[in-house]
């Protein structure tokens, strides 16, 4: 187990290294951070000066060395928009994003587990069809649109929660629902399918042949056996949240997280800050995957150690 864990951590670190290097290549080889950060009509002298200032005149490999060293020591460069270290800004923004993803995962699981179980329990009956309908609606509605709807109904008309920002604990509810609904729809369907398939396994048939009801068999026999799938699916949804939904929803709700920061960095043409945001989000995705593997391994001894 320990050796497996060490191997997994090394693999995760390698992935982070490759991804961040890719980000570096994209920002430094295919674009010119200095030019991007200046107005279009800026003179060539101005650009030269900016390049000098940002240390872009040095050999690429040297810049990359500095970038990589900075990553290891937690230095993500200097934001030219805010004129302070990007890592400082990211550190301020990170808790909000983590809170939002945490809230969204809670919403996802709270909705998906009972719905998925209900659908599997009443397979091909009315509740199953109803759950499928809701899931499809959740999945196909764009999160930003759900976000606006929620704001209009619950924040503007009913005035139950703030319309934007992260003031008070209630403010997290709407953005979490907006992010979580689509994930809940997908997860509910995955849970349903996993349970229905597992119910055909000989051990589940045996349990029912001993007189345990279908619902008892689902909750006490089958669910634990699909738990590792469940963890995997939930983890995938979480990585999806980091890389996509949170950015959109943070913008819609003016939620002061890394996603909104990255969005603002694009607006401000601050490539260094954008790069810092991407690196951190990528790191979170890799870390989530690592956590999934460890968790799966803990709850299901049959999961192979690869």
């Amino acid at each position: 187990m320990l050796r497996w864990l060490i191997r997994r951590v090394i693999a995760a670190a390698l992935v982070v290294f490759v991804v961040t290097s890719l980000v570096f290549v994209l920002t430094h080889v295919f674009t010119d951070p200095a030019a991007v950060s200046l107005p279009l009509e800026a003179s060539e002298e101005l650009r030269e000066a900016r390049r000098e200032q940002l240390g872009l005149k040095r050999p690429l490999i040297e810049q990359y060395g500095e970038f990589a060293f900075g990553l290891v020591t937690g230095d993500l460069g200097e934001s030219f928009w805010q004129q302070r270290p990007a890592s400082e800004i990211v550190r301020e923004r990170l808790p909000a994003t983590l809170k939002l993803v945490g809230g969204s995962v809670v919403v996802t699981v709270i909705l998906a587990v009972p719905l998925g179980m209900l659908a599997a329990w009443r397979e091909r009956k009315f509740p199953d069809h109803a759950v499928l309908g809701f899931s499809m609606a959740f999945i196909s509605a764009p999160p930003f649109w759900i976000g606006y709807l929620l704001i209009i109904v619950f924040a503007v008309q009913l005035d139950w929660v703030p319309t934007f920002g992260s003031r008070g604990w209630t403010s997290i509810i709407l953005p979490s629902v907006a992010v979580g609904l689509a994930s809940a729809g997908r997860l509910a369907q995955m849970i349903r399918r996993a349970i229905v398939e597992e119910l055909r396994q000989p051990y589940a048939v045996t349990a029912q042949s001993r007189g345990f009801s279908r619902s008892y068999t689902i909750t006490h026999h089958v669910f634990r056996n699909v738990a590792s799938n469940f963890v995997t699916f939930t983890g995938w949804e979480m990585t999806r949240m980091f890389t996509g939904y949170t950015v959109v929803i943070e913008v819609v709700f003016s939620w002061p997280g890394v996603g909104l920061m990255a969005f603002n960095a694009i607006e401000q043409k601050d490539l260094i800050l954008l790069q810092a945001g991407v690196v951190v989000l990528a790191g979170l995705v890799v870390f989530t995957n690592l956590a999934i593997d460890v968790l799966r391994r803990t709850i299901d001894p049959r999961v192979e150690l690869r």
Binding site: V205, R214, N225, R302
Partner: protein, 347 residues
């Protein structure tokens, strides 16, 4: 698992409903009459069992033999009022001591308590994530109503009964830590946990080593005598039947084609299919003879002939055979055969 409940037609005393040594109606535990279970497929509905009729008496060991796909497992589950999706009950009745097993409420009460089943594949029929002890305790608490100290004592007693050494230690084992034979013993223990009166054993020895097969069969035989449990032994192996059963029913294409005491079938099989089955069993006492298979293709269940299902493979088929399927008819006082060429008592 769905248990659609068609109107429970009380089994009429047709010819087919009374047969064999369990004829004594007062002694009957299980009565299946005209049971049909259908599975929708692309080529139409396949009848896993087709107007099946069968009785089991108390303290009886009945064998059901038939080739793969003849509907043995479907029948076993149907006795418990269960059918795997997409199948459904399409007619007939299953009565356990007179109660309708196709009523889900009745079936759920009887399952595991009065009728228990052990399955084809011991390797995967135990819950992989629960210890042997957890699975037994769950049954004893929830199905047998035991509490406190009695639970553990009974667990040990059960494992001991099925011949597992160091029962206290084995209770902590997971299924994957046990050998195939061991797992089947645990399965038998879970089946016997609530003192059932009928044990359905669906090919309990497939996938086990020959020596282990023998041990498991002997164990089942001894337990059934000791505890007075009836056993419905499902197998494709006439050897198993010979060793284990008092009476046998031969199944083909979801129907019973012959039923008789075991000695009679071996001495003088009547249905052409039984004859074929018997010829394909190696026998120690007649090693000069070549082993024969049954000629023709195994049956395509989606395209049944309109007459007798065995007709295309039957060496004796005649004019009537292609027209309508023959009913199971009594040809001597101990023997029933579904064959037009045998309907008159042999002179």
């Amino acid at each position: 698992m769905t248990a659609a409940a068609p109107a429970p037609t009380p089994a009429p005393e047709t010819v087919a409903a009374s047969a064999g040594p369990a004829d004594d109606a007062s002694n009957r535990l299980l009565e299946i009459a005209d049971l049909t279970v259908g599975f929708p497929t692309r080529d139409g509905t396949v009848h896993g069992v087709d107007r099946l009729t069968l009785n089991v008496g108390s303290h009886e060991r009945l064998g059901v033999v038939g080739e793969s796909g003849s509907g043995k497992s479907v029948m076993g589950l149907a006795i418990l009022g269960m059918v795997l999706p997409p199948g459904r009950f399409m007619g007939g009745s299953v009565r356990w001591k007179g109660q309708n097993m196709l009523d889900p409420a009745v079936a759920e009460r009887v399952r595991g308590r009065e009728v228990a089943m052990i399955f084809q594949d011991p390797m995967v029929s135990l819950n992989p994530l629960k210890t042997v002890g957890a699975q037994l305790r769950e049954l004893l608490r929830r199905r047998a109503g035991l509490r406190g100290r009695a639970v553990r004592a009974r667990c040990i007693e059960l494992l001991d009964m099925v011949g597992i050494a160091n029962p206290a230690e084995r209770l902590r084992a997971y299924a994957f830590e046990l050998s195939g034979g061991m797992r089947q013993r645990v399965m038998i223990a879970t089946a016997l946990a609530c003192n059932p009166e009928l044990l359905i054993a669906d090919e309990p020895t497939t996938g086990l080593d020959v020596t282990i097969q023998d041990q498991v069969l002997t164990l089942l035989h001894d337990l059934s005598t000791e505890l007075g449990v009836s056993v419905l032994m499902i197998t494709h192996d006439l050897g198993v039947v010979a060793q284990f059963c008092d009476r046998v029913q031969v199944m083909y294409a979801g129907r019973i084609v012959e039923r008789a005491p075991i000695a009679d079938v071996f001495a003088e099989p009547q249905h052409p299919y039984s004859l074929g089955l018997l010829r394909s069993v190696p026998r120690v006492d007649r090693d000069d003879e070549e082993l024969e298979g049954i000629p023709g293709e195994p049956l395509d269940r989606a395209r049944l002939p309109s007459g007798c299902a065995f007709e295309p493979r039957c060496p004796e088929s005649g004019d009537r055979c292609g027209q309508a399927p023959p009913d199971l008819a009594k040809i001597t006082d101990r023997r029933w055969v579904a064959c037009f060429n045998r309907s008159a008592p042999p002179s």
